[in-house]
Every structure is written in structure tokens, then in C-alpha cells.
Amino acid sequence: MRIVCPFCGERELGEFTYLGDAKPVRPTAGASEDEVFDYVYLRDNIAGVMSENWYHGGGCRAWLKVTRNTLTHEISAVEPAAGAGAAKVGA
């Protein structure tokens, strides 16, 4: 598996770190216990196309949003993630 970083070009997997499913959105300060539990612990764990957060630590050090098929490892899109850090991604 290789990832085409929008800033650095095609690089080998070892340069990147995985954060996980990009879908869960950090709850706001007033969120209920259920919402926090859901965000921290529950996952769709998709068998198929999934949107996920990767960090290009061995390159430009940007957070990326990668669209990848978990059944085949095929990557269909890589975009810069919103915001600067993991906590802000998708927020």
C-alpha cells in the first residue's frame, strides 16, 4: 500500500501513522454521556470504502483524509484534512 500525499506525492506506507475512522466527530462540551461513549468507543468498522485520518509524519507532517477500501486496501482519494490537528479534523 502506498499513499499519494497531496503535498509530497506518492510515498511508502511506513511514512504515515493511522488515527482511524474519520467519521466520529468530537462531541461539544455540553454533550451527553451517551454521545461521548459513542465517540470514544463505538465504531462502524466498515468492510468496504471508509474515510480515515492519516498523519504524514515522515513527510510534510500534515493530517490527511484518505478514502480507502478496507477489503482490498485500494485508495481512491487523499485530501488534506480540515484544521491543523486530529482533534479538529471533521469539526
Partner: protein, 417 residues
């Protein structure tokens, strides 16, 4: 059939042409008291203990592929009970005790080999952590020995003791740990369970749940038709999220790939199972001579059942750090298996919020050694509707309740466990 020295001799004298199939390949009935989804080690062990311990024999095990096609036949076969946290310690020891009598119980040679498991340590802090774990084990009646450098050198003289960065300082040894022949474990359970009347149904994929007006699960839809059930137990290893989703459940689980590697056969070298504590590398030698080894998971969600290069490289580097002389040994085979990684790295054995549906999931690195114990406690749960005391902490709601069993102290980040 019953195996004995005479049955072996008889088969040998007749040119090994008269062996009988070891279990009945059953066709599904309309209804069972208990239906188990997943014909891996855990599902089959559950069925065996339901029949042998709890007297429930109207049981079916439904397997979408063939017996042993999942992780039961893909793992590196290590068994041990050297866990430190309450919940794990007692459970894995229960499992170890069942390994020790498995062959007699099942009348099947699963080649349980207690050749010893040693975890090497490379720093003072790691020694202290291992000493503590060893003490926890001994307090709980489990064997553990903390070895110093001289003792390790005597036992494993060929390690690289000149590694300046990760010097071997000693190790924590569990002599009762070791390996078992993974395929024979599933064949043995299938053989014994089938002998007690359990139906083992291969090529039968569960595609949905049948539910009554109150939402209770009353059966399953399968590729071979509808099958009614008093209770349904899931033991589908890396497919837990997918099967649970058919009942509308979301789980605290991600699916990750773990790779295994086998080298060409060499003369006997590795005495038992060794783990390199400064990285993640574990190795044993199969009875055929191949070095069997592995390391970390690949680190991202996967259902692809194959791994990627960075982990291969990392695993081989771990091996080379410990034993530079294996650098000229050729790698023969490599494969991947899909495992459940739960949010704290520990298993889940519990009723689900859906009436009639029971869950056995979240098995990561520890799932093979857990096979007999998992079957025993899951059968208990299915038969009695209360958790077995050694599995009472493997609750599904422990994440919400803050009662995690996080051996590695990594928090809710499955790829780091």
C-alpha cells in the same frame, strides 16, 4: 471413531486406507436449542462444552467456509497464561488448565507442547514490570520464573548479547506455556462435539437474524435456509462487527490484520517460545523445523486478509536484533488474518442488548491460547444465562462503566494494543 494405539496400528497395517472422517458433515435441521455462528476454535469449543459440561446437545455450529479456515488455522500457535490484570489472569489460566487435559478430553492429538515461553527484558524498568507480572501470576497459583542474564545465557546461548542499544538483561519464563497444533485443535473439537450429537455445518453463511415481535432473536437466515434457535451465540472472530450489524448493534471493535511468517526448515534451534521485549517479535520453531514468527498488527482497519511491507520489515528487524545469524535463513511463507481489536485489547463475552443473542468477540493476539477457556465460559453463559466467574469482567458495557482491562495501558486506540 475412537483413537487408540490399536486404531493407529490397525490403520498402519491396512496402509492408512481405512481412516473414517473425524466428524459428521451435517445438514441443517429446522431448529436447535443453541446455534453457534462461526466454526473456528472458539465456536467449536463452545459447542463441545455445551454438550459435554452443560448437557445441551441439540446444538449446531454454522461455518461459512470450512472448519479452521479462519484464524484458528492462521495463528502462530502460542499458548500461555502470563497475564497481569484481574480478569485476564484467572481466565487465561483456566484456559491453560484446559489445554493440559485437552487431548484426554477430546480423544484427539492436538500436539500440546509445553516447551516454555520466555519474555526477554532489556531495561531495569522492564525487569521491574516483568517481576511484578510474575509475582501476580504466582499469587494466583500460576508458574512464573524471573531469570537473570546468566540463566538466560545458559538456556538460549545463541542470542545477540552484544546489542548495545537493547541489551538482553534477563527474562520472565513460564515453563507451562508453549504451542499446540492449531488445525488439530479445531479438528479435535469438531470430532468430539460431533460425537456427542452436535451438528457441524460447513459452507453455511449466516446472512441475517430472525426476530419475533419483541425483537428477540429466534433464529438465523443462512445461505442454506432459515434455522430456528432458542439462543444464538456469535464466535466469528474478525467478523464480529459485520455479523453484529445484522442485529443492529455497533461494537467497540475494529478489524485489523495480523501477519505470520514461516522460514525454511532448519535443525532444532529455538527451545521454546521467545519474545523480544524491546520491539514486538515472537518466535518458536515448528516440529517440522520452520521458524514461526510474528510481531505487530499492520495498524489500520483491514478486512483484506493480507499484510503490508512495513510490518514485515519491522518483524524481520526484530528477529535480526535478537539472532543476527538467522539473516541467511529464507522466508518461506507469510500470510495475514483478520482479528477483532477491541478498544482495550481484551475480549468481550456477554449477552448483547438483543434478547437471545450472545457475543464472544474482541480476540486479538490472545485468541488462540484462549480457545478452550473461551469455549468453556461461553458455554456457561449460554447454558446458565450468567457469566462464568472467570469471565465476569469481559462485559460489553465495561467501556461505558470505565472498567477497562487494558494490559498495555494504551487507551481506546485499537491499533496500539
Amino acid at each position: 471413531m475412537k483413537y487408540s494405539i490399536f486404531s493407529l496400528a490397525r490403520a498402519a497395517l491396512s496402509g492408512h486406507k481405512n481412516w473414517q472422517p473425524t466428524w459428521r458433515d451435517a445438514t441443517p435441521k429446522d431448529r436447535y436449542d443453541v446455534v453457534i455462528i462461526g466454526g473456528g476454535g472458539h465456536g467449536l469449543a463452545t459447542a463441545w462444552f455445551l454438550a459435554s459440561e452443560y448437557g445441551i446437545r441439540n446444538v449446531a455450529v454454522l461455518e461459512k467456509g470450512w472448519i479452521g479456515s479462519g484464524n484458528a488455522g492462521r495463528n502462530t500457535t502460542i499458548i500461555r497464561s502470563n497475564y497481569g490484570l484481574p480478569g485476564n489472569t484467572g481466565f487465561y489460566e483456566l484456559s491453560m488448565k484446559l489445554w493440559e487435559r485437552m487431548e484426554q478430553d477430546l480423544n484427539y492429538n492436538s500436539m500440546v507442547s509445553q516447551r516454555g515461553v520466555i519474555n526477554l527484558y532489556h531495561s531495569d524498568a522492564q525487569r521491574d514490570a516483568y517481576a511484578r507480572r510474575g509475582n501476580t501470576m504466582r499469587i494466583n497459583g500460576i508458574d512464573a520464573e524471573l531469570l537473570d542474564l546468566a540463566a538466560v545465557k545458559k538456556m538460549i546461548p545463541f542470542l545477540n548479547y552484544d546489542n548495545a542499544r537493547f541489551p538482553v538483561q534477563g527474562g520472565l519464563l513460564q515453563r507451562r506455556g508453549g504451542t499446540a497444533r492449531h488445525d488439530a485443535v479445531v479438528w479435535g473439537y469438531a470430532h468430539a462435539a460431533s460425537g456427542l450429537g452436535v451438528d457441524i455445518i460447513q459452507n453455511c453463511e449466516v446472512t441475517g437474524f430472525i426476530r419475533d415481535a419483541n425483537g428477540k432473536v429466534t433464529g438465523v437466515e443462512t445461505s442454506r435456509g432459515r434455522i430456528g434457535a432458542g439462543k444464538v451465540g456469535m464466535a466469528v472472530a474478525g467478523s464480529s462487527s459485520r455479523v453484529a450489524a445484522m442485529a443492529g448493534l455497533r461494537l467497540p471493535i475494529e478489524s485489523h490484520v495480523l501477519q505470520a511468517f514461516v522460514s525454511e526448515a532448519i535443525k532444532p534451534l529455538i527451545p521454546g517460545v521467545m519474545t523480544f521485549g524491546a520491539g514486538h517479535f515472537y518466535v518458536s520453531q515448528s516440529d517440522k523445523g520452520g521458524l514461526v514468527f510474528g510481531g505487530d498488527i499492520d495498524g489500520y482497519n483491514s478486512y483484506a486478509q493480507r499484510g503490508n511491507m512495513p510490518v514485515m520489515e519491522d518483524v524481520c528487524e526484530g528477529g535480526m536484533a535478537l539472532m543476527p545469524m538467522i539473516g541467511r535463513v529464507r522466508l518461506l511463507r507469510q500470510w495475514g488474518g483478520i482479528m477483532d481489536m477491541s478498544m482495550d485489547g481484551s475480549p468481550i463475552i456477554d449477552k448483547t442488548p438483543v434478547d437471545g443473542l450472545y457475543l464472544n468477540a474482541g480476540w486479538c493476539y490472545g485468541g488462540f491460547k484462549a480457545t478452550p477457556g473461551s469455549g468453556f465460559v461461553f458455554a456457561h453463559l449460554l447454558a446458565r444465562d450468567t457469566p462464568h466467574e472467570e469471565a465476569a469482567r469481559f462485559r460489553l458495557d465495561r467501556f461505558r462503566a470505565g472498567a477497562m482491562i487494558d494490559e498495555k495501558g494504551q487507551g481506546a486506540q485499537p491499533n496500539l494494543h
